[in-house]
Subunit: 454 residues, 2 copies
């Protein structure tokens, strides 16, 4: 019987994360204080983030960062995750390519997000923090942080965009089942929320507002820290367990990837699978291609500009050197909520600029078409975000069919879609459009994109 899954015992969970900053030919540009334009030091981040995370954020020296044993113990409830050869997807596509995927959907929270949530919760606990907080839109990160907080005995407060709070009760319930306090944002619990509610009692919230509320809670509450699920360097660092395991598992399969693919929101799952392989490109001149798959409606890498920009809509964060569509860009309301972010993480932006990675963008309906094909062949209903990685893998596999090349393609299945079935329902009923925008929104989107391309 041909081997389909490549498994590693939990003793093979990596002992250290891989910090690609240490080997980058061009280090990332500094993060700047928006008022003074002075580069930030780790201490400048301490009021918001945990100290250890702040240090990791700016560490350009240490190639390997040890994973604390209590974090490895928590990883053991779902790691090492399987590497799977997608034989039946290959057959359906009639491609000579070998397609593999790393299945991060098996985590308690249903996605890769837990890899960093557990680390951040642990460091918070070690520092004497008692409460952690964050914002969530689609709910993947909120679910992961809720679970991680519970594991390390922390209180967890999640500000959830009010529209999502009402429209995605399943995600909300998952967070509550894991023990988090979930507050619809805007809320009356912060100055930022009160101001918005006072101005507009029916405001349905935004990720920008939820971020503001979470940060306000963190800086105004003793022993409370803020956490983020993507974009930041330390988050991407924690995700490298994905690629480190995959590297060993590809060896078990007797292969090395020609192409590594992940969907791209802020860059956390992309970093996770890419960096460990990319180090061989940087250090040994390997020629693996790295493809970030993003939505056509939020194309920061394919159509954005590399420049200093704010990480949040309101302009409260430090200035980040990144590919961005502008911090006021309003992404279309696609189902892949995790990809609706205007910018790319600082490290990825530099790597993109230096030619170590490339990007492709896909229309929403195309991603669901590929997601349904994947479900019917490989049996896992993918998260809408992950459908973008699948679309890119399908694209490359079909290119192999055209050329006859038997390339080895590896993509990251970042999460499952069991709580996104309403999106599949819309796709199958023919109600889904590529943008899911009102005409007015579409006009604004086109104008915004035009402005960027000028």
């Amino acid at each position: 019987m041909r081997q389909k899954k490549f498994l590693l015992p939990e003793s093979e969970i990596p002992q250290a994360w891989y910090n690609i900053q240490a080997i980058m030919p061009n280090k990332p540009l500094p993060i700047l204080n928006p008022a003074t334009r002075a580069p930030l030091a780790p201490e400048d981040l301490f009021p918001i983030f945990c100290e250890e995370c702040s240090r990791q954020e700016l560490d350009t020296v240490h190639e390997w960062i040890p994973i604390p044993e209590p974090v490895r113990e928590q990883y053991a409830s779902y790691r090492c995750t399987p590497l799977v050869r997608a034989y039946e997807l290959e057959a359906a596509l009639g491609t000579p390519a070998h397609i593999y995927f790393k299945n991060e959907s098996v985590s308690p929270a249903g996605s890769h997000k837990l890899n960093s949530a557990l680390a951040q919760a642990y460091y918070a606990k070690m520092q004497g923090v008692t409460n952690i907080t964050t914002e969530t839109g689609a709910g993947q990160w909120g679910g992961a942080l809720s679970y991680a907080a519970k594991k390390f005995g922390l209180e967890c407060a999640v500000y959830m965009v009010k529209a999502s709070f009402n429209q995605k009760p399943y995600r909300r319930s998952i967070m509550q089942t894991f023990g988090a306090a979930v507050t619809p944002s805007p809320s009356m619990s912060t100055r930022a929320g009160k101001d918005i509610i006072t101005a507009n009692p029916n405001d349905q919230g935004s990720l920008g507002c939820a971020i503001s509320e979470a940060i306000e809670l963190a800086v105004s509450t003793p022993n409370c820290k803020y956490t983020l699920g993507s974009v930041m360097n330390h988050v991407c660092l924690h995700q490298t367990v994905i690629g480190l395991e995959a590297e060993k598992q590809m060896q078990m399969a007797g292969e090395y990837p020609d192409i590594v693919i992940a969907c791209f929101g802020g860059g956390s799952n992309f970093s996770g699978i890419a960096y460990p392989f990319m180090r061989h490109n940087i250090l040994e001149g390997r020629k693996t291609r790295f493809i970030a798959a993003e939505p056509s409606s939020c194309p920061k890498l394919t159509k954005g500009k590399f420049e200093y920009d704010f990480g949040d809509e309101a302009g409260l964060t430090p200035l980040l050197p990144m590919y961005t569509l502008g911090h006021t860009f309003k992404p279309a309301t696609i189902h892949a909520g995790g990809l609706r972010y205007h910018g790319a993480g600082v490290i990825m932006s530099q790597l993109m600029k230096d030619g170590y990675m490339e990007a492709q963008d896909y229309e929403q309906t195309e991603t669901f078409r590929c997601g349904v094909l994947f479900a019917r062949t490989e049996g896992i209903i993918p998260a809408p975000e992950s459908c973008h990685a699948i679309a890119s893998a399908v694209h490359e596999a079909l290119e192999c069919r055209r050329t006859g090349e038997a390339k080895t393609i590896l993509f990251n299945l970042s999460g499952h879609g069991f709580v996104d079935m309403s999106a599949y329902e819309r796709y199958m009923s023919g109600e889904m459009s590529d943008y899911d925008l009102s005409d007015e929104e579409l006009a604004r989107y086109i104008a915004s994109a035009d402005a960027l391309n000028r």
Copy 2:
């Protein structure tokens, strides 16, 4: 680091299912033709079920039934499933017991149901069948069969109770994503459905009606067969891969279970984990306890009677010798839809009668209380059905705390609850009752239970 998960490579997927009928001291009583009271032969089942399944149903001779290689290949997409030591649940309970669970939630359909769906779809394909059909209430079996049909190139028609079709759109969408035609029942596609709709255009359906529609479709359509997801002996046979793997994995952990637990609807997941261990009780005099965990609102084993009864509400099936609450018993509308069945499978009924297993029943809110504890400690949100097994494991582990005994407890986690979050929502908001019955229904239930106990 202590080992939490015990994994087997796919090469260790069992080569054969275990047929406990071959070693039972008292064989099950025969299944009877209701008109003639004559015992049925396999041929009598051919018009409805596949021939190989019909033969397996009545096979009391062969202890091991080889698993066809194409079925094993399909099993490889999710098997062997992990055996997990529930260290954190143990710690939360303060018990000296060692608690293990077999995680069947990792299958594409999210539950153990796929173990039999793949076998039944394969045998249908081998026999030249082109269409398979079934009914579904909660949707777990329908989802599994939809996926299995797709894997073996069969058309699949699922009759879904109309109330569930409208109230559980996520389950419906999962079946459709896997490529099945899902019809709300009653429908106009069958005589049975037409009669009901003509009499009552707003009828919201019942499992009994959906069974009638699926069987009518099977017997009136060329190359179409009916399938069932529980109760039948051949279904339970296919589930024994669970226990056979668990036996090897318990050896890896250096333990042997003192207690084996599974939730109980018709008996498929109970059989699956229990039979392989129970054979050592029968053949070698081992003293492992086997506990079927059922809902208080549908207590066929703890309060039912052993007698010949119909398998369906309408009385269309052969007469089955089983523990039953009566085929017209109306179970309360608890969230664990998969446990709302009036009878127990024929083999289990005999084993229960002969003292090889026992049963416990649990109130709905108690099962969710234990399910939330499990989610917060072990990270998997369990299906409402599986919450019953967890409640029983918790009960036994607390008993160990009382007595100081370090017993080894193994339970089957039959499925995850990602598409049952509305039930958790109701539990956490305090809206859930033990029965979820109207006063009128509750009165009927009590009268019905009283009648049985007389």
